[in-house]
Amino acid sequence: MPGPEQVRELRTRTRDALKWANPADLSVLDTELRDWDDLAQNIGAGIAPLVTKNQRVCFLPGRLFTGLPLHLARMPDGSFLLEHHEVNYAPNMATLLGQPKLDNQQTGYALVTVTKENDSADFRERALSTSSTLKSRLEALGETVWLRQEEATHQSVLYILPATREILFVCHGHYAGPTNGYGICLADSGHLPPPTLAIEESPDLARFLLTWADLENLTATPTIVVSIGCSSGLTLVAPGGVRYGLEQTLFQTGTCSIISPLWDVEQSTALEWLGLFYKARGDNSTGTVAAAWQRATLEMKARGLHPYFWAPFICNGSIFTEEL
């Protein structure tokens, strides 16, 4: 097993390799992930004697392992950990064991769809048509608000968040620097987000990005937050263990589960995964959010795709987030 320094260095390399993977040619990624594969086997070998089939596995990845796709740990039989286990991540034990608080004000569901200024017509159309299907699925669960494109601003999103039981973001993700971490792109003043957002150079562009800092003053946030924004599930861990990312404020304000990707996702397969996730959510036999996450992920895997396409999403938060 590698030491802490080696793991830290490997984590950076793994994160960069996944972030910059070319969805049209994953051969480079396979080469770059060889060291991660070795570590994944070590982790799987360590876990195997401790679990029996179908037990849920919970990771508190701490400073060292945060951001690594631990659900892809390789078991001694060659299978991935998530093939036989629901997998939960959490930043700490309090979040992992947190009980969802049923707030009577939080009755509805919300869907937010925002593409960027010059996304191709195909890209935009796929986002909107999948969102329309997802809206129907959410409506089967409860009253649903859909904020589309220019309607989805900081103001409108922050307004609906406290009154919403669950929110789904079909938006772009963006890295906003070491202290803001990863966030979700929104519209502003009738404009979709521009194709590049150099917020450190032009701070005014922050109006197109929702980060943990924007959520700090909210009294409540949805029990479940789902996002396909690229890398929006990544949390940065600063020296001393301070964590920067959306989870930082969401878990403080009432959110119990965040389902979001650890790397930059390819749009069409991410949307397919979302469809499968909400199909599983609508099935009463599924039970927990983690179970729906596992079922959707395994259905994507069954299509014979590379893990880059089927494994980006993680289920972060409480183990008690049942279908409410």
């Binding site: 070319n22 772009h172 890295y175 450190e200 996702v265």
Partner: protein
Amino acid sequence: MNDLVERIRNLSSEQALEAAQFLSKSVAPQPANAPDATSALAPLIKQPYKNLPQIEQRARLLLLTAAVTSEYHEEARKAVDGAGKKQFILGGAEIVLLAMVGLGALQTILAKGKVSETTKINVTPGKDGGDVTISGEKTIVYGVGIDLAAILKASFGGPATMVAPK
């Protein structure tokens, strides 16, 4: 080949940057010699957003060069195929990274077309028995094929002279 060149020309600014990053990773996994690249790119790195047009131009230059180099044509095609498919918006730090790795990849591709390398050393004796001054100058000439020359000219206005590869 013309089809790929056309596709590269039609890429949006951020797609060109993304494709150049994919290409860089497949042809030159290690970034360019860091101190050299950093000093060459320092003005761009300071304000990546402001200098985006120049960084984009470098990205297109890299893609076009690879597209017309038989050895890298396929890599260029895959890089273009993969661009614009992700749910992300480029930021300043990422633009800087793209500028760095793109330079390394361009060095790698062009190095295949090195035409000549000359080193000139001047030795100047000091006057009246003073210190001897030694200075050096290294010149490397890279050749570009007729195809690439025509494309560069059409895309960027073209350099004043082109050296034909031997």
